[in-house]
């Protein structure tokens, strides 16, 4: 019965693993719900600031902000949002794969690439990549706060202001539903001007206090920050959803494995008993 004992210990260890994956699945499910709430809570701000931007596009400010102006592209910047931990299926891998495709295109066009990573996975992945890593943030936890991101975003905005990058993208996962997360790469800067409404076209402008440059600076900076913040919050919801699904399939696989091993164990046990019986019977017959 040596084989039997071996199988039994194997079953036990798989059962232990299954317990862990099942617990992780449940934790991820409850965290996902909270992350989704947080995602919904951050939406009004983004909507409102977008509405203000829309109004602004109808107005006729005398000052044209550099964030709204296209310029020839020589260097591009990416803000990459990833998770801190693994065990969340192909979430990060899918994003990185799409990103690499984009980066290679820029490479082919001889555009220099500057990166800024949020989350430990992106940092360790893009460290090996032949691009400059400008800034990095990790360990934001389940409830990231805007303050944690301000510095990271500012580095890239400063680079844009200084003309060190001509375009800025945000790469993160879009939460479609629990089963689907879509990697997306979105252009942050220059801000694509919203379409003009025909009925609002008559000439008007805001009063700016203290002046249009300072007000626009503040507004556009907050706009970019809110987009990045939303990307981060959404990515956390994606992470939890992906982890839940991955852990569920791991638990299921463990169950299948246990069933198979149990069958093998039973067969081995039966074979051993049969063998013993036949030995006894033949022994008795010989006497």
């Amino acid at each position: 019965m040596a084989a039997g004992k071996e199988i039994r210990t194997q079953i036990k260890s798989i059962k232990n693993t299954q317990k862990i994956t099942r617990a992780m699945e449940m934790v991820a499910a409850s965290k996902m719900r909270k992350a989704q709430d947080r995602m919904a809570a951050s939406r009004p701000y983004a909507q409102k600031i977008r509405a203000v931007m829309h109004h602004l596009a109808q107005a006729h400010p005398e000052y044209r902000h550099p964030y709204l102006q296209e310029r020839p592209v020589q260097r591009v910047g990416y803000i990459i949002v990833s998770t801190d931990r693994g065990l969340c299926g192909g979430l990060n891998a899918n994003l990185f794969r799409q990103l690499l495709r984009n980066l290679r295109e820029h490479d082919a066009n001889n555009n220099a690439i500057e990166l800024c990573t949020i989350g430990r996975k992106a940092t360790s992945f893009f460290k090996r990549f032949s691009a400059t890593l400008r800034a990095q943030t990790a360990e934001l936890g389940d409830a990231p706060r805007l303050d944690d991101l301000i510095g990271t975003v500012k580095v890239m905005l400063d680079a844009y202001d200084a003309g060190e990058i001509d375009r800025l993208y945000l790469a993160s996962n879009d939460f479609v539903n629990t089963m689907t997360q879509r990697p997306t790469i979105e252009q942050l800067l220059p801000i694509a001007a919203p379409e003009k409404d025909e009925d609002l076209k008559h000439h008007w402008d805001y009063l700016y206090e203290p002046d249009s440059k300072q007000v626009l600076d503040g507004l556009l900076m907050r706009y970019i920050e809110s987009l990045v913040y939303q990307g981060v919050v959404e990515n956390i919801a994606c992470e939890q959803a992906a982890r839940m699904v991955a852990m569920k399939s791991a638990s299921d696989n463990a169950g299948n494995l246990i069933d198979e091993l149990q069958l093998a164990y039973n067969k081995a046990r039966q074979a051993a008993i049969t063998q013993e019986l036949s030995e006894i019977v033949s022994g008795a017959a010989a006497v």
Partner: protein
């Protein structure tokens, strides 16, 4: 019926207030502003202070904001409140911290990379051991 304004107060992390008001007072950068319906469009920054909303019933709601942006359209007032204390030097300091983290991550070739490397090696040697064991078992039986 008295004219009212629609007021939205939002911060990046959540919605704070949304509703009708007769009058809104906000701490704009150039001094406190009182906003009645049909105010001219205005865009300004806010100082830390309180935003007071006088509701149609006459009672007043007070919200503290630590800064932000204020947009006024004739019938809509939007307060984009900051959740964080913003000051040029605070922002600068966190930007420098983010840069330093990036430099440290680049310099720190040992931790993550080696760990991943070691893990891959471990997985490979475990697989090799397992196949060796299997081979030995089969030979033992044969």
């Amino acid at each position: 019926m008295a004219m009212t304004l629609h007021v939205d107060i939002v911060s990046a992390e959540r919605e704070i207030y949304s509703g009708a008001a007769e009058m809104v007072f906000a701490p704009a950068e150039m001094g406190e502003v009182g906003i009645a319906p049909r105010h001219t469009p205005l865009l300004t920054r806010l100082k830390p202070g309180e935003v007071r909303v006088r509701e149609p019933g006459g009672n007043e709601q007070v919200f503290f904001v630590s800064g932000g942006m204020l947009e006024i359209q004739p019938h809509v007032v939007t307060v984009l409140a900051d959740t964080a204390m913003r000051a040029k030097d605070i922002d600068e300091a966190s930007a420098i911290a983010a840069k330093e983290r990036a430099e440290r991550a680049l310099a720190d070739k040992t931790s993550d990379l080696d760990y991943a490397h070691a893990q891959a090696e471990l997985a490979e040697s475990v697989a090799r051991l397992r196949s060796l064991e299997k081979l030995r078992k089969n030979q033992g039986r044969g």
